[in-house]
């Protein structure tokens, strides 16, 4: 097989269905089993198109380029990640993220990362001895203008000549050539060193989940309205390249062997995992204080809760209550993130906003499986008495929401079952595997085709354009989930008392706000779930579905906000710690806070 010549071209021959290509002397492709000559000739791709930076390297002679193309050019793993990040950033830009995001934020973060992990911008790169960057003036890279160094360091591998006079390059060049032994097991130069146990323990090296973590940090820095839950949803829906992102590499960057272990993606990281990853990455990068989230930014709880109220089809009037709670809990002033302060965790704005809404619901409707239904009866009575009345009826909302939720969950299940994970260009870990992997790919493709023909419907579920919302409420053609309840009023569940509005439900309950040891305790949700009112659990489930997190995560966040909220309102009347008889008595550390609140 002259794989180097055919460049891994692996389409099926139109005549005989085999994949066994050879290249004739004129450079044309022919099938070696039926001698069918096809249109394709050996491709010569412009090496310069894959640069991020602006500077071009134009001194590549034709002869050397040809040889390089045959074997793929030399590249480094971090270069691959750079491509992936670039594509992810471009996808985000296409979604309407501000244009400075890519160059001024993500690119800076990436450079900082390269420097911190000693892969570039340093006098002694991490792969010293095996690989050293050739800088223009030897050892000047730190003082050189950043952009040129950046592109230079990325491009240095391709700049090295493949025609034998490696030493004539002046500085030290890569110790590995693509026709050396090491190239057998990986396409990139340093994949082997990437996978050594020491490097893995070090945790400074890039990985696929970390690209998303980096994007998340950059989005937060840029104060963009894409939360972590949104980012994950977009990745899941395929709007941001992640699964098989290596397919977009330029053709002469061959990915195989050990690279497969680095770039192959078989699952999308969970919210919790990514959150943790982002936090460690921020500490690793020693990022300074993040720009504060002010009221004009969509990440601010005030605006984010409004968004989730719309998503959950709750009346807009509820937002006033959410804002009041926010005020009481002291969350109005900017919440921001300072990685280098140990007591400043990376905030998750989305879960926090959901928690605020849940607390507002609890305040108004109590959610103890009794009061909310009594209030719903009142509201329906009121609506009957007064036909123009537009009172929010929790029961009606619950029914609408439940139907939509069931349908959405089924849609999600269906999408999971029909998601395609495998790439067009499959990865193989060793040369020995290659024919097997290619054959399997071909088999799967053909089977897909035949069943597709039989069912007459497209393979992947139809992808909708990226949207911040899962549900569509309202009246009109575009609606699939039911009528909108946003304009409804809360007049049946609040009443005027003195100058201010008060909820007609006089009591508030919360689970025991026990002090947890953050290191040793995991989520207590599983233990207490059975003792909680069903409506409350349902609400937790609803938001956990919307955000793609576990219900326990929302529960913990609610508790956290409740703690702040209740601490700040110590003098208030009628807040009960334990609402029901079912409250577990065995919880030892539970502080039965019978605090009085004045609202």
């Amino acid at each position: 097989m002259d794989e180097e010549q055919t460049g891994g071209y692996s389409d099926i021959c139109g005549q005989c269905g085999e994949v066994d290509w050879g290249v004739s002397d004129e450079g044309r492709f022919y099938c070696r089993s039926c001698h069918n000559v096809i249109e394709r000739t050996k491709e010569v791709v412009d090496t310069n198109t894959f640069m991020i930076g602006t500077s071009r390297v134009s001194s590549i002679s034709k002869g050397t380029r040809r040889k390089k193309l045959e074997q793929g050019r030399e590249w480094m793993v971090c270069e691959g990640f750079q491509f992936i990040l670039k594509h992810q950033a471009e996808a985000l830009l296409a979604m309407g993220v501000c244009p400075q995001f890519k160059d001024d934020v993500l690119c800076q973060f990436w450079r900082m990362y390269l420097q911190k992990s000693q892969q570039a911008y340093t006098k002694n790169p991490v792969h010293d001895g095996k690989f050293r960057l050739r800088s223009q003036g030897s050892g000047e890279s730190d003082s050189a203008p950043e952009s040129s160094v950046m592109s230079d360091s990325m491009m240095s591998a391709s700049e090295t000549d493949g025609d034998g006079d490696l030493a004539s390059g002046g500085g030290s060049v890569s110790g590995h050539t693509s026709d050396g032994v090491s190239s057998v097991c990986s396409g990139s130069i340093d994949a082997v060193s990437y996978l050594t146990p020491r490097q893995r323990r070090n945790q400074g090296l890039m990985s696929m989940p970390k690209t998303l973590a980096l994007c998340h940090l950059a989005l937060m820095w840029a104060r963009e309205a894409i939360t972590l839950a949104d980012l994950l949803r977009f990745v899941n829906e395929g709007h941001i390249p992640y699964v098989n992102a290596y397919e977009d590499f330029p053709e002469e960057m061959k990915v195989y062997g050990r690279d497969a272990l680095i770039f192959r993606v078989e699952s999308i990281p969970s919210y919790r995992h990514l959150h943790k990853e982002a936090q460690t990455l921020a500490v690793f990068l020693e990022l300074p204080l993040f720009p504060s989230i002010t009221l004009d930014c969509l990440l601010h709880p005030s605006l984010l809760t409004l968004r989730y109220l719309t998503e959950a089809n709750l009346p807009d009037e509820l937002h006033d209550w959410v804002c009041r709670i926010m005020e009481k809990a002291g969350m109005e002033e900017s919440v921001t993130f300072e990685p280098m302060r140990s007591r400043s965790p990376l905030p998750h704005y989305d879960v926090q906003a959901a928690a605020l809404i849940i607390i507002a619901m609890k305040l108004l409707f109590k959610l103890d499986d009794h009061t909310e239904w009594d209030l719903s009866n009142d509201a329906s009575d009121k609506n009957k008495e007064n036909p123009d009345g537009n009172s929010f009826n929790l029961r009606r909302w619950y029914r609408t929401m439940q139907t939509a939720l069931t349908a959405a969950a089924r849609r999600q299940q269906d999408n999971i079952a029909r998601k395609l994970w495998k790439a067009q260009k499959p990865l193989y870990t060793s040369k020995k595997d290659k024919p097997v992997v290619l054959k399997r790919r071909r088999m799967a493709e053909q089977l897909q085709l035949s069943f597709q023909k039989l069912s007459g419907s497209p393979l992947a579920p139809p992808s909708s354009p990226p949207s911040s919302f899962c549900f569509r409420w309202g009246e009109g053609e575009d609606v699939r989930d039911g009528p909108s309840l946003h304009h409804q009023t809360l007049d049946s569940s609040v009443r005027q008392r003195g100058a201010s509005l008060q909820p007609s439900n006089p009591e508030y309950w919360h689970p025991a706000l026990r002090a947890c040891k953050p290191r040793f305790c995991k989520s207590h949700y599983a233990e207490v779930e059975v003792t909680l009112p069903r409506m409350y659990v349902w609400l937790l489930d609803l938001f956990s579905f919307l955000l793609g997190v576990k219900p326990g995560c929302v529960y913990e966040e609610v508790l956290k906000v409740e703690r702040r909220f209740l601490r700040s309102s110590k003098s208030q009347p009628r807040a009960r710690a334990t609402p029901r008889k079912t409250q577990p008595k065995k919880l030892p550390k539970c502080k039965q806070t019978r605090k009085t609140c004045s609202r």
Partner: protein, 460 residues
């Protein structure tokens, strides 16, 4: 009380395990706690460290099973399209299993999908064949079966010959057996061609040497393969029949009997009543002596006492002059009557009546009777001569009632009155009612009129 408590605790605890479970032990514990239903263990379980890809394939398989159960073939085909990516599972420890799942479910869908055509089958089988070496021969065989069902005789034969010439690596035991089976089937198809030729040859009436030659060559090809498979233990009924048919045509009767004898009496073969049936039928056709026939049928009787050849066996025994055969015949008939399908068969009861008539003339009648009825005496009369049975017989088959009355009279006179009385009574009632109706047509008319009037009244 304890059970209730443990049941109530389950959901919470399961979640705890979900959160923290990294070890397999907790999963096992969880499985044990589930209600003990006789379900097959799931092949693909949810594990704590499941990748997204595995989650997708697991869910997809579940969806496919669901839509298959609901006969939604269209949806099943849709899911199947995305399920084929399991073939590319890089961490698969059982790629053959995936290939097999796709093969089995895929054919099921093709069988039921309204739009599936033969081309779809062909292309599907071709692809599945190459997805895993282990299934190549099985799939080939199934493919040719499908072609045969659809009347594509030539294509089916070609599939078999492709499979015959296929070789891969070291031959495993299963593989060589499958190859033998495939050869046998190709021999079987050769027999069909032979039959065709025979039919054309006999229709033309002229002796054609060329046709005859051709027929003979097919016979040879076929017989080589068929003989080969018959050496292996197994149930080869169609193969045996076709081979015997050919041997008979070429007048090789001894060979045929030998083949049948081997097939019937080889102990390494699984017990197969048909083998004895074929042997008996062939011997009967060739006018073998009664003694030999009886010997074959005796074995068949021990294998299947309710076989449809048993009445014939019985009459043969009655015919034979040998001492003791009559008692044997009695035993055979009584055995037959133990099976519900024969219980109201007039022929069998007639046999029984004749045997009793002849036995009663002998001295040892009571002794023979005691021997045969010994194990049945508790229930035999009750099952055959109940009042319910009598009523049923009198309605369905009068002749049977009479034969049975005779039998019960011979066996147990005490019972006779009960059985016959009911029978007669029922008969009497029937006849009297019919006669009444016949005698008095006026009455009938009156009744009808009354009915009509009352109907009108209620309408008013």
């Amino acid at each position: 009380m304890d059970d209730l408590e443990s049941e109530l605790r389950v959901p919470g605890e399961e979640q705890v395990e979900n959160e923290s479970s990294d070890d397999d032990e907790s999963i096992i514990r969880k499985r044990i706690k589930k209600p003990n239903l006789p379900l097959a263990p799931p092949i693909f379980k949810e594990t704590p460290r499941e990748t997204g890809f595995h989650k997708t394939t697991r869910n997809c398989l579940q969806h496919i099973r669901e839509v298959l159960l609901h006969h939604r073939w269209q949806n099943a085909a849709e899911y199947m399209a995305s399920y084929s990516q399991t073939l590319e599972d890089t961490t698969a420890n059982m790629p053959q299993l995936y290939a097999e799942i796709i093969w089995r479910i895929g054919t099921e869908i093709l069988h039921h999908h309204p739009d599936s055509k033969l081309e779809d089958y062909n292309s599907f089988y071709e692809r599945v064949k190459h997805s895993g070496v282990k299934h190549y021969l099985k799939v080939c065989l199934e493919h040719s079966f499908h072609l045969l069902v659809n009347g594509q005789f030539e294509d089916a034969k070609r599939q078999l010959s492709i499979a015959e010439s296929w070789r891969y690596g070291k031959q495993s035991a299963g593989q060589s057996q499958r190859i033998k089976l495939i050869q046998a089937y190709s021999g079987f198809l050769n027999y069909f061609i032979w039959c065709d030729k025979k039919a054309t040859a006999s229709s033309t009436d002229e002796y054609d040497a060329a046709v005859n030659q051709e027929m003979h060559s097919y016979f040879r090809q076929s017989s080589v393969n068929l003989k080969e498979i018959m050496k292996l233990p197994g149930v080869w009924d169609p193969f045996v029949l076709s081979y015997i048919d050919m041997l008979e045509f070429y007048n090789d009767h001894e060979g045929a009997v030998k083949v049948l004898n081997d097939y019937a009496y080889d102990n390494s073969f699984p017990p197969n009543p048909n083998a004895h049936v074929y042997l008996y039928q062939y011997m009967k056709k060739q006018n073998h002596p009664l003694k030999k026939l009886l010997k074959v049928l005796k074995i068949l009787h021990t294998l299947v006492p309710s076989h449809e050849l048993m009445p014939e066996y019985c009459s043969l025994l009655v015919q034979s002059e040998k001492e003791g055969d009559l008692q044997k015949a009695l035993g055979v008939v009584l055995d037959l009557l133990d099976y519900s399908s024969w219980r109201s068969n007039l022929d069998v009861w007639n046999h029984l009546m004749n045997i009793i008539k002849r036995l009663r003339m002998k001295k040892q009648w009571l002794k023979i009777f005691g021997e045969e009825m010994g194990c049945r005496k508790d229930w035999w009369l009750a099952i055959h001569f109940s009042t319910f049975q009598a009523r049923k017989d009198s309605v369905e088959n009068r002749e049977l009632l009479e034969v049975k009355s005779f039998v019960v009279g011979a066996f147990c006179p005490r019972y006779t009155s009960m059985y016959c009385g009911v029978g007669k009574e029922a008969r009497k009632r029937l006849t009297s009612e019919a006669q009444k109706a016949k005698r008095n047509p006026k009455q009938l008319r009156n009744i009808r009129r009354l009915k009509r009037e009352s109907g009108q009244k209620s309408q008013d």
